[in-house]
């Protein structure tokens, strides 16, 4: 077996083991939280009798280990179960939410990743001169401001004052692509501002690191222009760290945007998860947690594989 194939197989197996570990952690986490589903559903209006009735109906009287394995059995057969709180099929309601989350993450990534790398390259090209300083200044400022504040500021000026884009990014299936893009314009803008700096700084640092090497000097002595040197010689060798940080940010765009979802009332997975955590709806929390964990693991795996393929030393290990 080719060592690269072996490595990839190993990573995948490890990913599956990690997923199991994550599911156990999430389950334990939800059981040690105070209060239970029945109490959360009925809230202040719970009476001992209605609580007991609801507990029995939801099967909360079974021991936790039995509940965990019952759920695991279902998942292995592709059945995520039904939500305890409203009796809906989890796979169905989660599917729509996941698609929305991916839609937002996709457009945010499509704009922010190329933009970040381009800005990083420009910053290297004009290193320590004013374009570098302006780019660094703006991106570092935007990453330092809490994302909800950027959201509110954009909302006030762009949505309320100018009326260019709606403040409520509530997309649905009946909307055309154009309408959807208009609806998500503000959240995409905020997310871009939030993730830009991290990727831009990493691109800049990684390429600058490579620029110290002897072969870059050789390339310069060959008479290549600075941009050519960066594009042909520096960037390919700096790709591993850049891909790593890009993947981390993509993972953030999928799993970490709950604040943006709340501010713009975007029907994504984050809000769905938070609602169910506060109601102790364990099957839904498990399902969401599993998907989030899977996204993280897969993206990190891709980053690993890309850095293996990009680095001859890892590609041909001794």
């Amino acid at each position: 077996m080719h060592p690269v194939l072996k490595l990839i197989t190993q990573r995948m197996a490890l990913g599956v083991v990690l997923l199991f570990a994550a599911s156990i952690l999430i389950f334990v986490g939800t059981t040690i939280l105070p209060g239970d589903v029945a109490q959360s559903i009925l809230g202040q209006s719970a009476t001992p009798q209605s609580l007991a009735n609801l507990r029995a109906e939801l099967g909360l009287n079974d021991p936790p280990v039995a509940r965990y394995f019952a759920w695991l059995g279902g998942v292995l057969q592709g059945d995520l179960g039904t939500a305890l709180t409203n009796g809906r099929d989890i796979a169905e309601s989660l599917g729509g939410r996941f698609a929305n989350t991916m839609f937002l993450a996709f457009w945010a990534a499509l704009i922010s990743v190329p933009l970040a790398i381009l800005l990083g390259l420009i910053a290297v090209r004009y290193r320590d001169r004013w374009p570098d300083k302006v780019i660094s200044g703006i991106t570092l400022t935007s990453i330092s401001i809490p994302e909800f504040l950027i959201g509110y500021v954009l909302m006030f000026f762009v949505a309320v004052k100018l009326g260019w884009a709606p403040s409520v990014a509530m997309i649905n299936d009946t909307m055309s692509l154009g309408q959807k893009l208009n609806a998500i314009a503000l959240p995409v803008a905020v997310l871009t501002l939030v993730v830009l700096a991290h990727m831009m700084r990493m691109t800049r640092a990684a390429i600058l690191n490579v620029m110290q090497s002897a072969y870059i000097e050789t390339a310069e002595l060959k008479g290549l222009s600075t941009f050519e040197v960066i594009r042909k010689h520096a960037f390919p060798n700096a790709i591993a760290p850049i891909v790593n940080v890009v993947m981390l940010n993509l993972a953030y765009l999928v799993v970490g945007v709950v604040v943006i979802e709340v501010v713009f009332t975007y029907p994504g997975m984050g809000q769905y998860l938070v609602d169910h955590v506060s109601k102790r709806d364990v099957p839904v929390v498990q399902a969401c947690g599993l998907i989030f964990a899977a996204v993280y693991i897969v993206l990190n795996m891709i980053a690993d594989i890309v850095s293996i393929l990009a680095n001859p030393r890892l590609r041909h290990p001794k």
Binding site: L33, P34, G35, D36, Q39, S40, I41, L42, G43, Q44, S45, T47, P48, Q49, S50, N53, L54, E57, A83, T85, N86, G87, R88, S93, G96, R97, Y152, M155, F156, A159, V160, G163, P166, S167, V168, M170, N172, V262, V263, F264, T265, P267, Q271, Y272, D275, H276, S278, K279, D281
Partner: protein, 534 residues
């Protein structure tokens, strides 16, 4: 509201008194400007009703919605599901903004002389949205679903006193274990939406007799409804062709959506921004004084709160005006340590108001002989908006009287299961109930599940029962007055303020009335309002 104020609001409505005069004179009667305007708004708007317009889509932006919501009336507990319920369903009776009973599925109600048997005459020929006609059997099944052994309904407590229910021809008859003059108000509870076959087979099917049918149901995101052509009461409700309830839990997102015209009305405007929002040209802030109140509750069976002198010391130490000013920004009124205010029928407004007094607090504190150990007050932001700030104000004014109050912050998560009704002293809120009996029965009866101050007085229970069976309003008022004073002087309830319902309403929305029964016109704005631009 006392009689003079009521007279004055009528004068304004008739145009005999200006708004400015009204606010000025109301202030002389001890009413804040915000409250005066709120009273006025309700009356003036009701008087200035223009003819409703039909068509268009009304969009409501509401907090209190989650992806865990269902359409099952039995499990409804927050605002978005409540708005949904009233869009597709109706109850036997409703409580109108003046606090009177409005017949809906029952066309009339009659009580036996001893108020033990109640006969509800059910309307005929009213179709459910599935095409079938509503029958008295459906009513009976609905009530059974909310009261049977397996019920997990929030209305279970209301149904407890019912001995027997039966159908007789067009009538639905309820026999009570003990007399209750307020049964019609209990039957107006929002859980008791009449469903075909009582919703026994599919409680969340959203089939009812209301003006709209559910088209899109995305819990935690939005709910869209379409008007029914066969709605029986289209003269009075269901003017818009479509209704959308959008879940906007973030306060800033709600105000931005209203300002940018994406929704026509929002609930729960943060009092901090209400006056700023009111300045926007295309909308107004509408508030109604309700029965909801923010409280600090002590278990009177637990030391040191079992000492009434200490409880009185705490009650005198709290600065009520300051709380209404700083926590509610004027959108509310001061409380008097019993859970009833002028929004309730049979309220006795001659009960003296307890004033903030450091001297009296000191006196009672000294008389209590408390050993000076810290008194722990548990609080979280989820107890009520501004609860932590209110607790700090309480701590400061208590300190001035030498009372060592210590604030312990608790997480929002689990507050209602781990702290409220468990710990001896904490912050909380009550939404209020349509009538005094229901409020007292829910939280101050010895046997009540939610007796969150452990108020267990046989003589109080006896008076409550007496008032229940008394059909003479003057006598009932007297009994309720005594009960209120008893609670005010000895109870574990420290009630600094009653909060107003503060809504933001677009100028395009017609028919808005400030309803003391609940926010968003008691969650019926979508079905009772219309679009002026339609």
């Amino acid at each position: 509201m006392n009689e003079q104020l009521q007279h004055m609001t009528r004068e304004v409505a008739k145009g005999r008194m200006t708004r400015r005069e009204f606010v000025g004179r109301a202030a002389a009667l001890g009413v804040t400007a915000v409250a005066a305007n709120a009273m006025l708004a309700g009356h003036a708007q009701a008087a200035a009703h223009e003819a409703p317009k039909r068509g268009g889509t009304i969009k409501i932006g509401s907090s209190g919605g989650e992806s865990t919501n269902t359409q099952d009336p039995a499990l409804t507990a927050s605002e978005v599901p409540l708005n949904n319920l009233y869009a597709w369903g109706e109850t036997l009776l409703d409580v109108d903004p003046e606090g009177k009973i409005e017949p809906r599925m029952a066309e009339s109600v009659e009580a036996s002389a001893d108020a033990k048997q109640w006969v509800f005459k059910i309307r005929k020929g009213i179709p459910f949205s599935n095409g079938k006609d509503m029958t008295p059997e459906d009513v009976l099944k609905t009530m059974q679903r909310h009261s049977n052994e397996e019920s997990k309904s929030g209305a279970l407590g209301i149904m407890k006193g019912i001995a027997d229910m039966k159908v007789d021809g067009d009538n639905f008859i309820v026999d009570l274990e003990s007399p209750n003059a307020d049964l019609p108000y209990l039957m107006a509870d929002y859980h008791l939406i009449i469903q075909p076959d009582g919703g026994m087979d599919n409680p969340g099917a959203a089939i009812g007799t209301g003006p709209y049918t559910l088209e899109i149901d995305e819990p935690g995101v939005r709910h869209a409804f379409k008007r029914r052509d066969d709605f029986w009461d289209s003269e009075n409700r269901g003017f818009a062709d479509e209704v959308e309830i959008l879940v906007l839990n973030d306060a800033t997102a709600r105000t931005a959506a209203l300002q940018s015209g994406q929704v026509h009305a929002i609930n729960r405007v943060d009092p901090k921004v209400a006056s700023l929002l009111d300045r926007a040209p295309n909308l107004s802030v509408q508030s109604s004084s309700g029965r909801g109140h923010y409280v600090f509750i002590a278990h009177i069976d637990t030391a040191p709160f079992d000492n009434n002198e200490l409880r009185l010391a705490l009650k005198y130490a709290i600065n009520r005006e300051e709380m209404v000013d700083k926590i509610l920004r004027g959108y509310g009124s001061i409380g008097n340590d019993f859970p009833i205010n002028a929004s309730y029928p049979l309220f006795d407004d001659t009960i003296p108001q307890r004033e903030h007094s450091i001297e009296k607090a000191k006196e009672h504190y000294a008389a209590s002989g408390h050993d000076g150990s810290p008194i722990i007050l548990r609080v979280s932001d989820g107890a009520f908006p501004g609860a932590v700030d209110a607790a700090s104000l309480f701590q400061q004014s208590a300190q001035a009287a030498g009372i060592p109050l210590e604030i312990k912050r608790e997480p929002n998560d689990g507050y209602w299961s781990e702290v409220w009704n468990v710990q001896p002293f904490c912050a909380s809120y009550w939404g209020g109930r349509p009538v005094q009996d229901q409020m007292y029965t829910t939280a101050y009866l010895s046997t009540a599940d939610w007796n969150d101050t452990r108020w267990k007085r046989p003589e109080f229970d006896k008076m409550l029962n007496e008032a229940k069976s008394e059909l003479d309003d003057a006598k009932r008022k007297e009994i309720y007055s005594q009960m209120g004073q008893m609670l005010r002087n000895e109870g574990g309830l420290i009630l600094p303020m009653f909060n107003d319902f503060v809504n933001g309403v677009s100028n395009d929305l017609g028919g808005w009335i400030n309803d003391p029964n609940g926010e968003m016109m008691s969650n019926q704005a979508a079905i009772k309002c219309w679009l002026k631009s339609a």
